[in-house]
């Protein structure tokens, strides 16, 4: 154990955990990283490319090295930053990306091979022999690459989504964020304070600074208590605001249960969409390191992180108590770490400061004007080489803190692609003024990292933000604080011949940058892509600025001239599960059920997905072992007796008003204005580009009241298009539209006995052929007073009706029809039989109306009226459409027992089968129990003139090609006598 004194851990609550199977103990308040350090564990992982031993370098979400697979079984979670994993009792974690044990990774051979693996090497080789890429090289690369692994089991946890609204969102609950929250909270504004950490205070919890001459923790506790007492403030810890979207919308993930062994009844995480009138970006800053030779050994870490571990977690970075610790810095900040460590009783070798004029802050050895030029220690640091004025000496140390300065966390401020600007005094990029509207950077994120200035800046930002939305906020009494000295030299890396790491995870060194420069990969984006620098899980948080500085040195330009990188969402990794929000499995999309769904379910129907609808596909009866038996029976029942089918899913639009007829004339290609009251007409709608859009019926129930039906698939689209023409193009017409698809249950009653059946339920209404002929419609009552609509229309080609009742009566009507028709052999039929019936009749459906076809191709070109204008009429006459000679035909296989598969392509008999000789395709196919043969519909070049010709239906995809005869698309009753009787 290398536990120090103090800290914000609860020593009364010990927690047991395992890392790579070995048991350890930590305390409540620990992270996995702090607990491992406190147990003397430095080696936590392996790097991506060279599989070099790696230890933790940071104390926050930017950690690039200490990445573990957390938990086991289906909850296994790859690439979890040990720095962000809150310790819980029973936690189990494993290191990743190694073959064999962590301390003897077989893939470490890559490190020996590293001269061959310089930046971009894979673009230059592996090209010969050609076939070896997929078979040999790539699988080997893929296996070695990647970091953690998935369990390949479905995520068992629950997730949720939520919406929040506020006046002010404060991102980050450090000094600036807390000051902002207190200012805004006291002003009565609706405030959300979010922080990725599990406790409030941010960097204040990791420094030894006092506030009001007491430990910062006391002030944090008092602020927390006050904020919690304010009903207008919502504190969200464990919540990462990961993205800034348009108009003040922020994406955030709350890790509700990741600190528990299992979520239990809770959701694991919640995705919040926060709409904020204004936001304060108080996300703090991220420390950077200084590349030097062999700077990647476990035990080398950011000095600020080292300080954080000591102060907050009472964890020492060394393996054994008493091992010496050194600090390498280019500014005052590194000295703070030395002071804090000394205060904790650690053995500090001294501070190596690159500045020749540096002065010590306290009682420790200072190596002014010196640098670290080498390290030793295979699995953990044992010694460092300190060089001053050309003289080098080795010192034994167990850990080295590196302080290269702080980069403001500008990420969210650049999510709208505003570029951060360089600040020469801070030696860092700060948010630019052209960031997302309403997002105000404050504190360290704005370059004001001193405690006193961060507190004041947070308050200032809150007052400024609220004044923009007319909320008056007053200054608050801030605690007494100081700004630590922060002088810093522009010292970016230690030159040398050996490898000096810039990007730890991806193994990008200063040499790689030099090579990229030599190869003319100078633009920063080329540098990044050529070397993979900044593309690791930290997205360059710990490497980008150092790399820019090295490239700037090589090109002789300044850092801002060399380039900036902007950041894109997410700020840190967000689990894919929570972004999906739990809409998985059957909950992926809503299911729309027809009014007779439960009735059909009881009857044992099989259902099929039709868009969002679930429709009865067929109704198997006892003894039927194959779906075809049921479907054939249902089809024959309709042709010979009477069948009933729920057709509610077809779109319905009520069209009312004095100009309704004129409006319909314009949206339908054929004439609708002349339709008599009580009549129905089949109608075609075109898109404005002249192609066929939809078909359906238009019924004129009353003088100024029409009911339009659409296909199921286009119900919403046609209604939208009609509203477009109504509101945007012809608003002067007196017409009103409403979609009534869900309001009316509609049941088709089809077959020679359909009139007989319906006559038993209609109230005093003459449905004789004379009284209610084909294509009649009426509003009437049925079943003793239930209002209903009756249409004499037919999709099957038989005498048929559709009867509509208010949706809530749909099931009752279905049951009544079954009851009344029992002696007639009434048979419920599903979508399969519906499909067979319409193919037998040659009616078009989705496969024929696929958006690529025209009225002409359906043989309905004459329906596009020349006497009036309508949507698409002008464009339908363009040459390419008018000259298209493909026509819908029927196809009958020569051997009727062989199915012509839909999707087969048609060829003139004996011609070569290739794209150029393609004559058409099969759109729909089925077995016709009526004809006792397979039949099909298809589009064929000049099909209308080829009736009787034998053609080839080619289906090379399934190795099936057969001959078919071209016939009329109307297989059943081509004269249409049946539906008129």
């Amino acid at each position: 154990m290398t536990r120090l004194s103090g800290g914000l851990i609860d020593r009364s609550k010990p927690l047991n955990f395992t890392f790579n199977g070995k048991s350890y103990r930590g305390f409540e308040g620990d992270t996995l990283a702090s607990a491992l350090l406190a147990n003397g564990v430095q080696l936590m992982g392996r790097s991506f490319k060279y599989h070099r031993p790696r230890g933790v370098v940071a104390a926050g979400s930017e950690e690039p090295n200490a990445m573990v697979e957390l938990r086991t079984g289906a909850r296994q979670e790859p690439n979890t930053r040990a720095t962000m994993a809150e310790l819980y009792d029973g936690l189990s974690a494993r290191s990743q990306n190694h073959m064999g044990p962590l301390n003897r990774d077989l893939l470490a051979v890559n490190d020996l091979m590293s001269p061959f693996f310089a930046a971009g090497f894979y673009y230059k080789t592996f090209m010969w022999p050609k076939a070896f890429w997929e078979k040999l090289y790539e699988p080997a690369i893929r296996k070695a690459a990647g970091l953690g692994s998935l369990s390949m089991l479905p995520d068992p946890d629950q997730y949720d989504k939520g919406f929040l609204h506020c006046d002010l969102l404060i991102v980050g609950a450090g000094a600036a964020g807390l000051a902002a929250a207190l200012t805004a909270g006291r002003a009565g504004a609706e405030v959300i304070l979010a922080d990725e950490d599990f406790s409030l205070g941010g960097r204040l919890t990791m420094e030894s600074d006092t506030l009001d001459e007491a430990e910062a923790a006391a002030w944090i506790a008092s602020v927390k208590a006050e904020l919690e007492s304010l009903p207008n403030v919502r504190i969200m810890t464990r919540t990462t605001v990961f993205g800034v979207y348009d108009h003040g919308i922020f994406g955030a993930v709350e890790r509700v249960a990741d600190h528990l062994k299992e979520p239990g009844a809770k959701v694991r995480q919640t995705l919040w969409r926060i709409t904020a009138k204004r936001a304060v970006l108080a996300a703090g800053a991220t420390e950077r390191h200084i590349p030097f030779a062999d700077n990647d050994r476990p035990g080398v870490m950011m000095a600020g992180a080292m300080r954080a571990y000591a102060n907050r977690w009472a964890a020492s970075p060394v393996k054994r108590d008493g091992d010496a610790i050194a600090i390498f810095t280019n500014g005052d900040d590194g000295h703070r770490t030395a002071m804090d460590l000394i205060a904790k009783g650690a053995n500090v070798l001294g501070v190596i400061d690159a500045r020749a004029g540096a002065e010590a802050l306290g009682d420790y050895k200072l190596f002014a004007g010196a640098t670290v030029t080498g390290t030793k220690g295979r699995l953990g640091l044992t010694s460092i080489e300190i060089t001053r004025n050309g003289t080098s000496e080795w010192h034994n140390v167990g850990a080295l803190g590196v302080a290269g300065g702080w980069n403001p966390n500008v990420h969210l401020a650049s999510h709208h692609r505003g570029r951060p600007v360089w600040d020469d005094r801070l030696l860092a990029f700060v948010p630019s003024a052209d960031g997302p509207k309403g997002l105000i950077p404050a504190g360290a994120a704005a370059g004001k990292g001193g405690t006193a200035e961060a507190l004041a800046d947070g308050m200032r930002a809150a007052i400024e933000a609220l004044s923009e939305i007319d909320v008056t906020a007053s200054e608050i009494a801030l605690p007494k604080a100081e700004n630590a000295a922060s002088d810093q030299a522009a010292f970016w890396h230690v030159p040398g011949d050996k490898r000096a790491w810039v990007d730890f995870q991806n193994d990008v060194t200063v040499k790689d940058i030099a090579l990229a420069h030599k190869e003319n990969m100078k633009p920063v984006e080329h540098l990044k892509r050529w070397t993979t620098l900044g593309m690791a899980t930290d997205q360059g948080k710990t490497s980008n600025i150092s790399a820019l500085a090295v490239m700037a040195e090589l090109t002789g330009k300044s850092i801002p001239e060399t380039g900036t990188t902007i950041f894109r969402p997410p700020y840190t990794g967000v689990s894919l599960s929570v972004l999906g929000g739990g809409d998985t499995g059957n909950n992926f999309r809503p299911s729309r059920l027809t009014p007779t769904h439960h009735w059909a379910e009881k009857l044992g129907a099989e259902f099929v997905e039709v868009g969002q609808w679930m429709r009865a596909q067929y109704f198997p009866r006892q003894g039927e072992t194959h779906w075809r038996q049921a479907v054939d029976r249902e089809v024959l029942a309709v042709r010979a007796g009477v069948g009933i089918c729920d057709v509610t899913t077809l779109g319905k639009v009520d069209v009312q008003g004095a100009d309704a007829g004129e409006f319909l004339n314009r949206v339908y290609a054929n004439m609708m204005g002349t339709l008599a009251v009580g009549k129905v007409r089949y109608g075609l709608m075109l898109r404005e580009d002249g192609h066929l859009y939809d078909d359906g019926t238009c019924a004129r129930l009353f003088e100024d009241h029409y009911v339009v039906t659409t296909t199921t698939a286009n119900a919403g689209l046609v209604y939208r298009q009609m509203e477009f023409f109504h509101q945007c193009v012809w608003p002067e017409l007196d017409v009103q539209l409403i979609s009534t698809t869900d309001a009316w249950a509609q049941i088709a009653v089809a077959g020679p006995k359909s009139r007989e059946l319906l006559s038993r339920i209609v109230d005093e209404f003459d449905i004789s052929n004379e009284g209610f002929p084909f294509m009649g419609c009426a509003a009437l009552t049925i079943c003793g007073g239930l209002r209903a609509r009756l249409f004499r229309i037919s999709f099957s080609g038989e005498l048929a009706y559709e009867v509509a009742v208010p949706a809530r009566y749909g099931q009752a009507l279905m049951e009544r029809l079954m009851q009344e028709g029992a002696d007639l052999g009434v048979t419920p039929y599903g979508t399969e039989a519906l499909g067979v019936l319409r193919i037998e009749k040659g009616h078009a459906a989705g496969a024929e109306l696929n958006g690529q076809t025209t009225a002409q191709m359906l043989g309905l070109g004459k329906m596009v009226s020349m006497k009036k204008d309508s949507v698409g009429a002008v464009m339908s006459r363009r040459g390419g459409l008018a000259e298209d000679k493909r026509r819908l035909v029927g196809l009958k296989p020569i051997d009727g027992q062989q199915q012509i598969m839909a999707g087969s392509h048609l060829f003139t008999r004996g011609t070569a089968q290739e794209t150029g000789t393609d004559q058409g395709w099969v759109t729909s196919s089925c077995y016709s129990p009526h004809l006792k043969s397979y039949i099909a519909l298809g589009y064929l070049e000049e099909g209308d003139t080829r009736i009787g010709e034998q053609i080839t239906a080619a289906n090379p995809l399934e190795g099936k090609t057969l001959m078919a005869e071209v016939v009329s698309a109307h297989f059943v009753d081509p004269e249409g006598g049946r539906l008129r009787d």
Partner: protein
């Protein structure tokens, strides 16, 4: 995105369906001599500006009104929203 519906206030853009350039409200005269050419231009060609764009959105999951929204395509900033029928009727007067 949030769309300032002229009747309903700020509404989430997820309630809306997007169509495109508000010029689609100006359907050419089908009886004109060059109707086909005018329709081709109307249906197929777009200014597609990088900047201020007047465009049609349908409040499909709301009050089913079509809106003309003025929005900057480079920043997504919304400069205004009107009922399409008002715009069309106003233009006709």
């Amino acid at each position: 995105m949030l769309i300032p519906h002229p009747l309903l206030g700020l509404r989430d853009s997820q309630e809306f369906t997007y169509l495109g350039d508000a010029n689609l409200m100006h359907r050419p005269d089908p009886a004109a001599e060059n109707a086909e050419a005018a329709f081709c231009e109307y249906v197929f060609l777009r200014d597609n500006p990088a900047g201020v764009h007047r465009e049609l959105w349908f409040h499909e999951q709301g009050d089913r009104s079509w809106l003309v929204v003025t929005r900057d395509t480079t920043t997504h900033e919304i400069l205004g929203a009107e009922l399409a029928s008002d715009v069309k009727l106003g233009a006709a007067q």
